[in-house]
């Protein structure tokens, strides 16, 4: 049980993803953007994806890897939350 964020037993939801992206400054999101926003359109690139995977591991205790590094798996907060949940 990793107590760092207390979220190990709770499913990650898309709003958690938005919160993480904003708090960690991984990319600048418009104020009103929703959970279906295209993150690659918003500036997510290969460099930011590396930081993102590291941050996801820190915050959610989930180790994403090569198979998850895709637009399909990380392209929106909804997709990213599903990817994180699937890897638990």
């Amino acid at each position: 049980m990793d107590g760092c964020c207390g979220q190990m037993t709770v499913a990650c939801d898309p709003d958690d993803v938005l919160k993480m992206l904003r708090e960690e400054g991984i990319l600048e999101l418009a104020d009103g953007c929703g959970v279906e926003v295209d993150l690659f359109e918003a500036g997510l690139d290969s460099m930011a994806v590396m930081q993102l995977i590291v941050v996801i591991e820190e915050r959610f205790g989930v180790a994403l890897g090569v198979v998850d590094a895709s637009r399909e798996a990380l392209g929106t907060p909804v997709a990213m939350a599903a990817t994180i949940n699937a890897r638990r």
């Binding site: 400054g25 991984i26 600048e28 500036g43 690139d45 290969s46 460099m47 930011a48 994806v49 590396m50 930081q51 995977i53 590291v54 591991e57 180790a63 994403l64 890897g65 090569v66 198979v67 998850d68 590094a69 895709s70 637009r71």
Partner: protein, 394 residues
């Protein structure tokens, strides 16, 4: 040697300044420490011209007419490519090999006296400069001096007041290498995932997380760019040779580690090799001049215009205070900002001008004006300024 204009540094700003001054009829000498002009765009293998075009829009429109546009045209002819849009900004992919050759041609055609392999080591108002070349000193007398050294080397030699962000805020440096032998598509996201796995397993150093790749535009060639913290041996200090040496060493060590890891783990990379190292790591920010005017980040963000503006800044504030990728702050409505003439003139000095990434501005504005397209523009602007009456030996 006695000339009208001495240009210190032959990077994008010095090149533009020397060519413009020489075309205006001034005898001009350009002093450059490497064996080629182009600076970051050649010696450091930075392969994108940023800041050439206005932000937004359906097509790329040049912000600064004249030499910036001419260099871009020559590059497009050389590479066969044109501007591409990345998010809200237009950029021109460029090739360092072509840039070095284009710079030679423009300098030769313009009649600039080029002194490679030398560094200005002392400067006295009036102006007298000493250059060092392989242990021998040479003197140059000049009517005006343009400091395009990037590091405000002239200000340091003159011991006049300069400005510099705190070590922990300076924009981080980048180490760019050429890579060949990769087969198939460049799968950037997959490579990112691969690097994270390598760091997690302990096969790669943590600094590998600053690495990313882009196709060079030439068949089978890619560039690997490693953003470094600069803190390999302590606080980042881009004017300390020990710090710069650690950058070069770390850049090669980490790039080599990533390449070896990919050769083993990544489809298409088995035959990959590093085809060239840069002559030097790319330093984004160090000392800046304190000029007759100081351009601020707020000026850039608000798209402020000036009565005495001599160039336009059209790149967002691209802050890289960490090596975890850029944070972009866009000007309101994507507007261009003016760069006032006073930001290109050293305060309290006659006939001392500055162009490029060390012009008089604050740390935030520097995050916009440091890009090569804008450096061409400020270089051209000072070249025009020195050509005005009252400057030089007349």
């Amino acid at each position: 040697m006695k000339v009208d204009v001495l240009v210190i540094g032959g990077g994008s700003a010095g090149l533009a300044a020397a060519v413009t001054a020489s075309r205006a009829g001034l005898s001009t000498v350009m002093v450059e420490r490497h064996g080629m002009a182009g600076g970051m765009g050649t010696a450091s293998l930075v392969h994108t011209f940023c800041g050439l075009y206005f932000i937004d829009g359906d097509e790329a429109r040049h912000a600064n007419a004249g030499l910036p546009e001419e260099i871009a045209d020559r590059m497009e002819t050389a590479t066969g490519g044109g501007p591409v849009k990345m998010g809200r900004v237009w950029v021109l992919p460029q090739h360092p090999v072509e840039f070095a050759r284009i710079a030679d041609e423009i300098l030769r055609e313009s009649g600039v006296t080029v002194l490679f392999h030398s560094e200005v080591i002392s400067l006295e108002p009036g102006w007298r400069a000493k250059l060092a070349c392989r242990g021998e000193l040479r003197e140059i007398e000049a009517g005006a001096v343009i400091d395009a050294s990037g590091d405000a080397a002239g200000a340091a030699m003159l011991e006049i007041q300069d400005d510099r962000a705190a070590a922990d805020r300076l924009q981080r440096p980048a180490y760019v290498s050429g890579i060949q032998g990769v087969v198939g598509e460049l799968a950037g996201l997959t490579l990112s995932g691969r690097i994270v796995e390598g760091v997690r397993s302990g096969d790669l150093p943590k600094a590998s997380l600053g690495m990313h790749f882009r196709e060079s535009g030439r068949r089978g060639e890619i560039f690997g760019t490693l953003d470094l913290s600069g803190e390999e041996i302590g606080d980042y200090d881009p004017t300390d040779p020990a710090c710069l040496s650690a950058l070069e060493d770390t850049g090669r060590m980490v790039t080599n580690a990533v390449l070896r890891y990919f050769k083993e783990k990544q489809d298409g990379w088995k035959m990959a090799y590093i085809s060239h190292w840069p002559a030097r790591a790319g330093v984004r920010e160090s000392r800046r001049y304190l000029g007759q005017a100081v351009l601020t980040g707020d000026d850039v963000i608000s798209g402020r215009r000036f009565d005495d503006e001599v160039a336009l800044a059209t790149w967002p504030l691209e802050l890289r205070e960490t090596n975890r990728g850029p944070k972009l702050r866009y000007p309101e409505d994507g507007k261009a900002a003016g760069i006032p003439a006073g930001a290109l003139k050293a305060a309290g000095m006659e006939d001392l001008y500055v162009a490029g990434r060390c012009i008089s501005c604050d740390h935030e504005a520097q995050a916009s004006i440091r890009v090569m397209g804008t450096c061409f523009a400020t270089g051209q602007a000072v070249g025009r300024m020195v050509a005005q009456p009252g400057v030089g030996f007349e």
